[in-house]
Symmetry: C6
Amino acid sequence: MDTWLPSLITDTPQQGFELAITLSRRGVKYTQTDTDVLHKLRPEYANNADSLTAASQVIAINFQTVAAANNYWRDKK
Amino acid sequence: MDTWLPSLITDTPQQGFELAITLSRRGVKYTQTDTDVLHKLRPEYANNADSLTAASQVIAINFQTVAAANNYWRDKK
Amino acid sequence: MDTWLPSLITDTPQQGFELAITLSRRGVKYTQTDTDVLHKLRPEYANNADSLTAASQVIAINFQTVAAANNYWRDKK
Amino acid sequence: MDTWLPSLITDTPQQGFELAITLSRRGVKYTQTDTDVLHKLRPEYANNADSLTAASQVIAINFQTVAAANNYWRDKK
Amino acid sequence: MDTWLPSLITDTPQQGFELAITLSRRGVKYTQTDTDVLHKLRPEYANNADSLTAASQVIAINFQTVAAANNYWRDKK
Amino acid sequence: MDTWLPSLITDTPQQGFELAITLSRRGVKYTQTDTDVLHKLRPEYANNADSLTAASQVIAINFQTVAAANNYWRDKK
């Protein structure tokens, strides 16, 4: 597999949040490697309120990690 | 996408809690970008007790991040 | 909206736990602002074991934040 | 309400784990204050594997808080 | 009850992971003390993918605590 | 059981993420030791959007632990 996560450091909190989204999706992709299946599943959860909340929760957990890694971007304020 | 998260720093804990809500909603919006779909889904979870608890949990997780970033607003007490 | 969260600091762990409950309920209220709906939903989850466990989990997550903010009330032992 | 949480400090990790159980149950009791209802709900979740896992998860989250408060009982090793 | 958790300190990360499993099971046992019931419930969740994921999640949360207690076994590398 | 977790330290964040996946799977395997059962369950959750989100969440929690153990790979940037 190619390099997709060279660092947890980002320039801004927003980029950190987007990295958290990447981490969340990678967690799914490592489990289901067939992208055709993933595309077929997408409408199933993207149109379900509870599934979207669950997706947002995984992002929130990964954002905790990225934010801590970046010392909450305090030095860049 | 425009800048929606320039900083995790807020003046008060309450503003920090509201930022946690913003983060939680953004986590949803990045997954389902169609705002029409999001509006249609809203009544579905806003009238379901378990969905509201789940939403509150995502906010709680994001609030942990924002509170830590602000050193729990200890210096502003 | 009026000020409901001026500080995360409390005198005792028990008050901190009660603040965690407040945070958990506020997370719900920000999502469903209609208090009539909230009152109608109450019996639905207050009489369901899994819903109560889920509510207790949100409180536990918020209590982590409040306890850390208060340095676990170690200095007040 | 009387004082049920004077401190997060315990002598041993095991007592800390038991305090985490107390915190988890209190989270439920604050939401459903009627002990008759709680007793009626008990068999419902105590005989369901997923409900027991969920209960164990809330305990795990509260144990994180109690363990951190006690500095993981490192000084008492 | 006899002593089952004298310390959170383990020699290796793997032993720490196994302690996290013990903590997760104890969380269940404190809630359902009847071991006959627990044995009867075992096949129910051990053959269900979502139940196994939920069990793995509780272990992950407890492992966070054990790993922090052991300072991530950094000194033993 | 043989040694499968000698250390939480990895060279890169990506290897750390993959270790988090290993931890998540081990949490399942300790609970259901029969690999035939695990293989039979795989299609059940690998084709279900909510199951994949749940799996990604366990990975996210374990990644928090691994990332903290590695001090977020800050020194290797």
